[in-house]
């Protein structure tokens, strides 16, 4: 019932959950060895920004467009090509349809 066979392997979600539970218990156990020195609402929990004033939480929220900046900058040339492809013009949408059709006709015609 739980075993999903693929012919070359299998997948059992129950085994996965069991492994996750064991890992969780293990980590929870290791955590128990630590010392409880955390005091909420004291100086201990405040961020130290080299003497600069701490911004409000709203100002510190990283916007979605700033996430993965490194990846998108590194792939700039790829994105430039893809943006050129996605013009938003209906005629270009149809052009891609015609291109695929032509390529397939060519393949079928040759073969």
């Amino acid at each position: 019932m739980f075993n999903l066979e693929s012919g070359s392997g299998f997948w059992n979600p129950l085994l996965w959950i069991l492994l996750l539970a064991i890992a969780f218990l293990l980590f929870y156990g290791i955590r128990g060895f630590g010392r409880n020195i955390y005091k909420k609402g004291t100086e201990q929990t405040k961020a130290f920004l080299s003497g600069n004033l701490e911004s409000t939480p709203e100002e510190m929220h990283i916007k979605a467009s700033n996430l993965y900046w490194g990846f998108t900058t590194a792939m700039k040339s790829l994105y430039a090509g893809l943006r050129k492809m996605h013009t938003g013009n209906t005629s270009d949408y149809l052009l891609w349809f015609v291109i695929v059709l032509a390529v397939l006709f060519l393949i079928i015609g040759v073969i």
Partner: protein, 521 residues
């Protein structure tokens, strides 16, 4: 014949007739009461679902069922349309009706108070009718008619928020693309009719000679249906349409998209099932060439889908691009099943592909509903304008997390189970393809982690302090999808054994489909 048997005999017709009649009754019911209209919509879809359930038990027990509209005898002039329902068509019909019911439940609150709801429900039911028609018909011209109905109804629904310019633009693009595509389908049908004087799929499959014209028709059908399914590089309409229509509409457009994928399966496995193994030049069997063409297009779809999704700032467009990638996974499985026809892993690939059709609409559908919930409470589309929603929308956050993990193929959710079958089978065809697919799934996880962080985590934004959790009907719709995603993830074999494997067997055993019509009447 008992009453139940009579209902069973006429169920293929009733599955189309009930939503079709409901489409034109809804404006009348709307005049009485909005609540009555909402209940009527769910009741009619529920009734259609009951007939689909009834037909499912019969098809699984007795094989394909045919229903004849028109002349029963083959005396001239023969004016008739045949519906032929087998396990694959009934599987897709189940998915369609499930999406429609969830979409209507979601619409109760989401569309509440908006103008033109009687027209909305009429178009909604017409779209459901067209999707079901495409799935149940055994006649290729009838398939074209339902395809056209789905184009027109989808276009009007995409433009439902007519005051937004982008919605009109998306609808315009959709109708242009769809109309051109439909014309090419009509041309392909013309090629069949001119050669064989037949329009019935089983009859055509029986007499198909695989002439040069048949090859042209195959290319036309594959490209148009691939475009309607959102296959790259013909996918550009999809993020526009999915991103601009109300999420409840997106769900039913997804079912129409799914009907196009079904069309591809029907064309490849049934219509051309007898001739696809024919060797052409260079001793290459046709199925290998077609399979690899689909695989290349699938890989392009997966790559373009995830790469473009990463830089989207509009949440619904972002999900639209991931939907393109998910279509890529579907076609990767279908391509592998075709290219490796006869190999044991080809069947596993087909199982994975059909299973993923269900999981794809479930996961992407859930994410669209969550995006709709965010739009409902914030009236914002851009990810940069939202944040900290987990503080006020706890249930929606949980549903989103389930959706993101499922769509990224993370175990133990449903997305993983079908992707597992796809990865394993594709790996045996070519390991590089499987590696690309796995890496893109990881990128997909990264994309949705970005959405989770940007939209739900972080501090409460001052402009969103008044935000509250969405109404119960929207939570119920999202909850149903989330519960199904978890359930199928934990018990994949229930769906696999009861629906997916019979559907795959029906596709592989195309002779049975043909004999039911050609040998039966």
């Amino acid at each position: 014949m008992t009453f139940l048997e009579t209902l069973l005999v006429h169920s293929p017709a009733l599955i189309i007739a009930i939503p079709l009649l409901s489409a034109f009754l809804i404006p009348l019911v709307s005049r009485i009461n909005a609540k009555l209209r909402n209940s009527f919509a769910v009741a009619m879809l529920g009734l259609t679902g009951c007939f689909i359930g009834l037909l499912t038990t019969d098809v699984f027990a007795n094989g394909p069922r045919i229903y004849i509209f028109g002349s029963k005898n083959l005396t001239l002039p023969v004016v008739r349309i045949l519906f032929e329902v087998d396990s694959i068509s009934i599987f897709i019909a189940i998915v369609t009706i499930m999406l429609a019911i969830i979409a209507v439940i979601y619409s109760w609150s989401f569309m509440n108070g908006q103008d033109g709801l009687d027209k909305y429900y009429t178009l909604f039911f017409l779209l459901v009718t067209s999707a079901l028609g495409m799935e149940l018909t055994g006649d290729i011209f009838n398939f074209f008619v339902f395809l056209e109905i789905s184009c027109i109804a989808s276009c009007a629904l995409i433009a439902f928020w007519v005051t937004e310019g982008e919605a009109l633009e998306a609808a315009f693009k959709y109708i242009v693309i769809s109309s051109v595509g439909a014309l090419f389908v009509l041309f392909a049908i013309g090629l069949f009719y001119a050669q064989y004087n037949a329009l019935n799929i089983a009859t055509l499959a029986h007499v198909l000679q695989f002439t040069f014209l048949d090859k042209i028709a195959l290319v036309l059908l594959l490209v148009v249906l691939g475009m309607k399914a959102g296959l790259a590089p013909m996918h550009m309409w999809l993020p526009d349409a999915y991103g601009r229509s109300p999420p409840s509409v997106t769900l039913v457009i997804m079912s129409a998209t799914l009907a196009s994928v079904y069309g591809v399966l029907r064309v490849l496995f049934t219509l051309y099932g007898n001739v696809l193994t024919t060797s052409v030049r260079f001793d290459l069997p046709m199925h290998v060439i077609i399979g690899w063409i689909l695989i290349v297009l699938a890989i392009v779809s997966i790559l373009i889908g995830v790469i473009m999704a990463l830089v989207q700032s509009d949440l619904m467009r972002l999900i639209g691009y991931t939907a393109v990638a998910e279509v890529g996974y579907l076609f990767l499985a279908i391509g592998t099943a075709i290219a490796a026809q006869g190999a044991p892993y080809a069947t596993v690939a087909l199982h994975g592909g059909i299973f993923h059709m269900f999981n794809d609409v479930l996961d992407i559908g859930l994410l669209f509903l969550v995006a709709g919930a965010i739009y409902y409470v914030t009236k914002k589309r851009l990810l940069d304008d939202i944040g900290g929603l987990a503080r006020t929308m706890k249930f929606t956050t949980v549903f989103f997390m389930i959706g993101l993990l499922a769509v990224a193929g993370m175990p133990p959710l449903n997305g993983f189970t079908s992707k597992f079958l796809i990865y394993e089978s594709v790996y045996q065809l070519n390991p590089i393809l499987s590696i690309i697919a796995i890496l893109c799934s990881i990128v997909m996880l990264a994309i949705f982690i970005k959405v989770l962080y940007a939209a739900f985590l972080g501090p409460e934004l001052p402009s969103l302090k008044e935000v509250k959790e969405v109404p119960r009907s929207m939570l119920l719709a999202m909850g149903c999808f989330a519960a199904l995603a978890v359930f199928i993830g934990l018990f994949p074999n229930i769906l696999l054994d009861s629906l997916v494997k019979p559907a795959a067997a029906a596709l592989l055993d195309h002779a049975q489909y043909i004999i039911t019509v050609v040998g039966g009447i």
